[in-house]
Symmetry: D2
Subunit: 320 residues, 4 copies
């Protein structure tokens, strides 16, 4: 290969820039030219490309967001668009594509590869961590750190006012973020889409804890499990306690990437370039255990990854 | 005086602990005993007091919240309660009271003093900064830092996705927090209760900026000026841009106090003890300019402090 | 078992408190009493113990340092002291001991177990990560975060003044901290005790980079590989560039534990209690891959863990 | 005026970028062209200038360092160089100059103005705060925050190991940074160049505190008052306590600017442009009390600013 392209797609995630940097610098080290595609699949369809070199990615390892910008691209759900994308790439002499994105972006990449055979690899990056082929996706660690920093602050108010706080974190279909946030935040309970939960039992536990003298509580709810506002109102009505609901919202997507996200992005970005040059295609490049591993995209797209039930049990056993 | 009391009241604010530490350690340095009142005026009415010494306040200068806990106390709106409070204090041999709190707490302190003559001083502490007798109240600086950190993160997403974010910060009746957050966050506009604003004009400015190539915008709204959700919907409808609304919520109240809040709390907490011992009463102990200054509570309660119009103008002139 | 003890030993590390919390709360959940030993093996020899319950560990999951305090205890190198320690424990009815500490503490625990058969387990915790039986020891992740935050700040000055900074991080015999700091900090080079390095070649690379227009450089040196001051002076002399040396020093040991350290500490602290109750002894309780694993202490003490050579190669291939 | 220039000079300080942004955007708002001078007075002498517009300063309000880069320029101590500088400026049609820098840069600006009458204004920016004409210089607040964050971390180790830490902060001739760091860090003592101190008395106080049960101490030393290593050794020798010395070093210069530095930089940068257009020259543009104020450069250069003795007394009265 003489020339490859890289793009970021879907929701932005901290560490995407570190992955772009690793792709560009590795490619240059292998003597391969790199083109950056702007705004994900949308920019690819529009031919919005620019040449990149080692200095294009200077000073970005510690920046949130993505210098290539990103988008959600409904048009890419159609095969005609994907065929058009391959035309754009081949017209510019591009022989391989690295997609940095989450589960929707992996679907797009899978179909593009299945339909055209164009060499594409995915570097998983989403704060939701709801994508197979990796233990953690780039951006997840930073999102948990941000959520836990928020909980550390909210606990000051919970303790000072002797209140119950119900905190809603992102995760429409996945509880990874909610689970690690609850565990590291020392929360009293985690309500997640993957595990059954019983609001009446939670109210009974809260009442029992209050009788024992406990004065403040943090309940973490994943977006996909329920609404903080409703759960907060329910707890207030059934326990008589003073409750507050908080949504962390978009700040979970941004911020300076953590060490782990920077290292994960550096490893998988560099490994994706090497794999592409060695002939790999239609695969996800993730870290599993301590090693970089390739997983076919069809398998990635078929598999639903689940949070570890032992970590979930730990939240409950350490709360008291 | 041989014995004084200290309490924190109203919404918690970062730096309240640093103020408690300064009060206790200064009192001990002057040879005066200190009693901590739990849960603000509520605990005072219930006689929930405990002796404090220099080690009671070790290691708290950098902790958010308040070790004395706090409350909002509707009962204290009645003169009978305030008379009862003085009985509780005098029964324990307490000759002076330092109240660490905001505008509601100052009202309570003013009435208590006006009705009973009991020596009370207020150390202003609220994240809203909506209390006269000081340039800044304890907790405000930390709250602005927290809000600006959030904006720094949200801007990553705004830039990556080319979106408009409308961010609602606390401040039911006061725009101090919104103003400094917008200025330090580099926001494109600040909508505040103290200054008129025109949503149509803002939409026109946004459209003009977009034509010039500007891709992302941050609009800060103070709670008292409007709802982020409504403003966001309006802008989307009138400009065709993609918008998102975010409420920062309770995390603005907590967190490790900034340097400025720790120093302000140390200065005013210590000055309050000295002033009390020198016979001051019925006053607020704040920093005005570079000096500690005493202001009568009746004047504090009558005065509405306003944000600096020059700072407001600066937000607009630096946005483009 | 009816009663167990827990202590922290050796250099303090962020996350030790989260581990203590997990030990205490898990023990209580299993119906077992827990005694906290103050100041590590020193306090054990002096019988400085105190009963702990669920509230003893409230609010500590996010605190640096260790509430049990710690020490280095040369006396514990003697078998007589270790026998004395077992006497102290058994006299109080304590049937098992959990040691939270690093490689020196593991040595002490190994000998105590080998000589007396007393049930002891080690939860590995040291910022150096130089202990086998775990992928990462508690405190390492936070230390890397702290070091990388420092590099992010120093890079501002390096860029503004077009200078070379040589930054020395902790790690007398191990390069783990230096390696991850360099990789996540985007450093141009890492000088580590486990990998050969050539100062002349580094100077040649710097000169070549400077000719290409690169203006600022960050070189990370592990304490055990060399002195920042000497290396800085050498580079200045051989390249003519302006250089500065910085030692990060003790701040690498403290600070709020990261999410990963809190979760690691929660998992291994809880697992240690369960293992002890199930009869395990003389072992280290670490996380390897994604699972908690037990490793015999004699094997832990014989094994020298080494940084991943692929990560080391990555530092060099991404620098340019 | 139709065209002005801006440069940053001397040691870099967080907030310099926010000041550049304010200068550029204000100038554009007034319809005036702006030229950025690279690398301070050195770049000015070499004619290293570039045109700037509103987008040149996008996204820099929260970046440490300076995008214009900076230098120390011994050549500028000579009148011939300063005359050359004015030639460079006038040759490009530049009618006014804004210098963002500290006391050395103010000296240079003063002489340039005195000798040539060229309209120059200074926006004070140095982490040392040792420059008259302002209460605080840009960068000082961030430097104190960084130093206090370090102390918060080091205290974890001091408490865990029951040790005395002597921490050296920057400030060759001025104790501002040491004083506010000690006060906000809750240090037990501050040794500063502007106030006499007695090491024997400090040792006696430490011994008395230790007898009372106090176990850990933080002593802050300003660079200009003494060496942390020597003071640490002296205390160890005279009290028998375990001591450690730490130098914070260059990380005090970098980092994301605090809210206060961003606001100060925005205000003074914008005010400098307005003042220049209104005919001001040979002055410093600082904030004094709550207002922007102009002070003649000759007065600024003659005046030695001193830390507030009341704050110094407060460090001692709150330590115990």
């Amino acid at each position: 290969m003489k020339k490859i392209a890289v793009l970021t797609s879907g929701g932005n995630a901290p560490g995407m820039n570190a992955a772009i940097r690793a792709v560009v610098r590795s490619a240059v080290a292998w003597g391969v030219a790199v083109v950056g595609v702007q705004r994900g699949y949308s920019g690819l369809l529009e031919g919005d490309l620019r040449e990149m070199d080692v200095t294009s990615v200077s000073g970005i390892i510690n920046r949130g967001g993505t210098i290539l910008r990103t988008s959600r691209c409904p048009a890419f759900h159609e095969a005609a668009s994907r065929a058009r994308a391959v035309e754009v790439l081949t017209a510019r002499g591009i022989e391989g594509l690295i997609v940095i994105g989450g589960s929707g972006s992996s679907q797009g990449a899978y179909h593009l590869f299945a339909e055209t055979g164009f060499p594409v690899l995915v570097v998983p990056s989403t704060i939701d961590n709801d994508v197979a082929g990796c233990d953690y996706s780039i951006g997840f660690d930073t999102a948990v750190h941000t959520a836990v920093e928020c909980i550390d602050k909210i606990r000051d108010t919970a303790d000072s006012h002797e209140r119950i706080f119900v905190i809603e974190v992102m995760g429409r279909e996945a509880g990874f973020l909610g689970l690690e946030t609850a565990l590291a935040g020392g929360a009293e309970a985690a309500l997640l889409p993957e595990f059954p939960w019983d609001l009446e039992e939670l109210c009974r536990k809260i009442s029992a804890w209050e009788q024992r003298g406990k004065r403040s509580f943090i309940i973490v709810v994943a977006e996909g499990a329920g609404s903080a506002a409703e759960i907060s109102a329910h707890i207030a009505a059934h326990t008589g306690a003073e409750t507050r609901a908080t949504l962390l919202g978009h700040l979970q997507r941004g911020g300076i990437p953590t060490v782990d996200d920077r290292i994960l992005a550096s490893r998988t970005g560099a490994a994706a370039v090497q794999a592409l040059l060695e002939g790999a295609k239609g695969q996800t490049v993730g870290v599993i255990g301590r090693e970089v591993a390739l997983t076919p995209l069809d398998q990635v797209c078929r598999t639903k990854k689940k949070p570890d039930p032992e970590l979930f049990a730990l939240v409950n056993s350490l709360a008291c």
